[in-house]
Amino acid sequence: MKRVLHSWQGTAALVLCLAALASLPLMAVDAPSPFGTGTVVLVLLMVAGAALVSFTKLSQPLLATILFVAAHLAVWLLLAGIAGNEGQATLAFFLLVAASWLLAWRCVSVLSGIRPKSQAGDTFLRLLIPAIFGAWILILWEAATRGAGIPFIILPPPSSIGARLASSVPILWADVQQTIFKAVLFGYVVGCASGFVVAIIADRIAFLRRGLLPIGNMVSALPIIGVAPIMVMWFGFDWQSKAAVVIIMTFFPMLVNTVAGLAASGAMERDLMRSYASDYWQTLIKLRLPAAMPFIFNALKINSTLALIGAIVAEFFGTPIVGMGFRISTEIGRMNVDMVWAEIAVAALIGSVFYGVVALGERATTFWHPSNRGG
């Protein structure tokens, strides 16, 4: 009894299997190519079998493997069966998808209980768990859109987004070059660097600090995107105007954060420098900048997101016929939503990589900060 409670996902999966059995078939009666009886039996047996196995006392790695294989094979068979039957799936179909999902959930909780001995095993597990998680978002999305026949315009299934991605690599690559490598990177580097330099100057010159900081706070509250059309007027249609928008968006967060960071060093630490008769630059480089690093990286992280948003949205206001924002705005007009989603996927991927690189840099430079010490 205790073990049945422990693997409640297994119990729930069994219940769902029974409910599915009671509400067969998996596709509407007039579906063009219904499931073969063999497939249905196989799926039911796999799900129910794995659910029962989850109550046993098998070793954790073996149990996880069985659950992993059963859950994914079953759902793969189910998804494959949709072909030709779009929008015809019945309650039983979704009950079985849900049951497989519960098995995958059980699998992840077994996996997270494993304490691997080797470093490689640890890394593998740390990557595997989020990968299963992500895969199931796509699986459920696929099952919902194709099984229930959600209109393509509203939400295309991941499989057709993937197909579109694969078939438009040259276009996507050209867009990435235009938007990311030119506008975002240039704007980000220039915006952050100038924000940093102005912060150091403002720190030395009090009236600049008193004048700039309130303006900085005000500007960050403004919808900066509104200046995009003006930047297009000033710098033309090409990437330079987008880079200008990115510079404006990233400049003030960096300025405000760096100024705050430069004030973050403790009084005693500064007195120490003073007792050494350390000059302004020595104190800046050896004390105040290191102490400001957590603030500076905070700005770098905020700006990595802002730069991406700024460049893409700024392209809505006029561009040459290339760029991620341009593609999104024209393809949505042509109802090619899969292309829009493909661009979104690329943007999400690049955004995560961008953020990840900045976060890695942060881990390397602010390892000493109480919030990062841990391991």
Binding site: D271, R274, Y276
Partner: protein, 265 residues
Amino acid sequence: MPMNNPPSSVVSASKLGLTFETSDGPVHALSNVDLTVNKGDFVSFIGPSGCGKTTFLRVIADLEKATAGEITVNGMTPEEARKSRSYGYVFQAPALYPWRTIEKNIALPLEIMGYSAADRKARIERTLDLVNLSGFGKKYPWQLSGGMQQRASIARALAFDADLLLMDEPFGALDEIVRDHLNEQLLKLWARTEKTICFVTHSIPEAVYLSTRIVVMSPRPGRVTDVIESTLPKERPLEIRETPEFLEIAHRVREGLRAGHSYEE
């Protein structure tokens, strides 16, 4: 053989006063302090919390400006003395930089003062050894206990050639045994280098054991109520703390502290 008799003064304060202007009125942290610290002296400051011991050290080190009276350090203003790097200051807290390892922390003043890399290395090794932290040089401050951190901060102040060492309760966070050991080490160091040391403490035995002179202070306003010259020999084993002579001086310090306290009631 001392060449110049009488000994030259390192710190000399007369009618020194410092008033902090706070939102709820002025705080007289120091008033009418007359004190001379001679070259090679080991002077301890003792007194109840808030009597201005830290403030006095900060005025000497030019971290605070006196609002009344005169003070000179090596015949200069405190600011000139600071600019000529006369001070090794050990603060009440370790104040180590968390992004630097212990040895890098000790290297900090050496870097600022332009010591050569080879010299830095030798000095780091020597001072780490002095405070019993050899082998911990590559650790970060937050990986050490509070007492070890405080020792590292002492090592940092000893690493360069300041001729005036200002120590603000440096051993407050340490256990008795380590404290005894460091007291001994400090005395040896002082005898060897002939540095001048101003030392704040709350412990009467520590003050008596270490000092050539003990300055007793009392609060509101912070002032010097007594200066006791030690009659103990320069050579002081730890056992000296049980001698009648030692206890006699300790008794006088205690009396001085009592007298200071009774002013308030």
